[in-house]
Symmetry: C2
């Protein structure tokens, strides 16, 4: 199962993406399993993620409180990595500043419930695209647009698990993060210097 959406049209623009204003349709030239910016209804995407979260928490007997739900909603605003202090700023208002522990506790809950993933190499967080089942995922992190594709290739995770076990290692958790350029940013290649 995959989830990779483009919430904003890349300024540089995907060189070969099919863009027909007003007539949403799939891009035909991208090999990446993405939805075209114009085909992706992100409001619906957010709603789906939140509904799924509600459902899972109810089913598990844990509480998706307004605060936790709000944090999850903020994380789902884009398909880009979100930082804890971004959340603090976004949740704060003129008359009420949210303090770090508030956000970190919500993040902790969402991580425990598998509703988000932590991106270790960026100290950031991203919504999980298939939270119903426990899984070891591989994250493709674009340094061009900051967006993240979550893969769940059981063959890969099994191979890594096997390799670790063959060295007598008992695996708790796999952290697999691939840094690079997504298909929308790669064509522009030359102008996307290391970030």
């Amino acid at each position: 199962m995959l989830c990779y959406y483009i919430s904003d049209i890349n300024p540089a623009g995907p060189a070969n993406a099919s863009v027909i204003l007003g007539a949403k349709r799939m891009s035909t030239t991208q090999t990446m399993s993405t939805l075209d910016p114009l085909t992706h209804d992100h409001d619906q995407c957010i709603a789906r993620a939140l509904d799924e979260a509600e459902r899972l928490c109810a089913q598990r007997g844990v509480r998706l409180t307004p605060l936790r739900r709000r944090v999850l909603e903020e994380i789902w605003q884009h398909h880009e990595v979100v930082k804890a202090y971004d959340l603090i700023h976004r949740l704060s208002t003129e008359d009420h500043t949210v303090k770090p522990p508030t956000v970190y506790r919500a993040l902790e809950f969402l991580l425990e419930q598998g509703l988000i993933h932590r991106i270790e190499s960026l100290n950031g967080y991203i919504g999980c695209s298939h939270p119903a089942l426990a899984h070891q995922c591989q994250l493709l992190i674009c340094r061009g647009c900051g967006q993240v594709e979550e893969l769940d290739d059981p063959t890969l995770s099994a191979a890594l698990q096997r390799e670790a076990e063959s060295h007598g290692f008992r695996v708790d958790q796999q952290i697999v993060e691939v840094r690079g350029l997504c298909p929308h940013c790669a064509p522009a290649g030359a102008d996307v210097s290391a970030r």
Copy 2:
């Protein structure tokens, strides 16, 4: 190529390790590619790492200055993850405190030269066990003893690369970290709660 050494005898002790005082020999019962604590001459291990670093830097025309060498030496004191601020404390004396940029610049140099690896999930660093060639490695990180085994399975890294490319992703870097228990800590399993 593998490098996994035990610098300190685990307090809990490997349940089934062969230990013959005074007569260093390989453990016969561990499946992990480790050296028995007693067979591992860590002074020699450090010396080897530093010599290799000297050789590579000379060959590449870069300067392994006393400071950089000193930082590398500290990182190699054990086979455990080292934190930047540990290094700051270890390098500081009564009459001279080392400041963060000093250490971070040395770490940056050592990372560029492939002499150390950064462990993203721990904000730590570890000596690279085969720095002569560029490589994508897999790190097995024990939560029991803090030691790290560096694997370099080209099959695994190729599989991950292929998977990413099949999604149109251009790979810069792979981060593969496996958290769990090493064979010396796993048998004691029950008493090693999550850290």
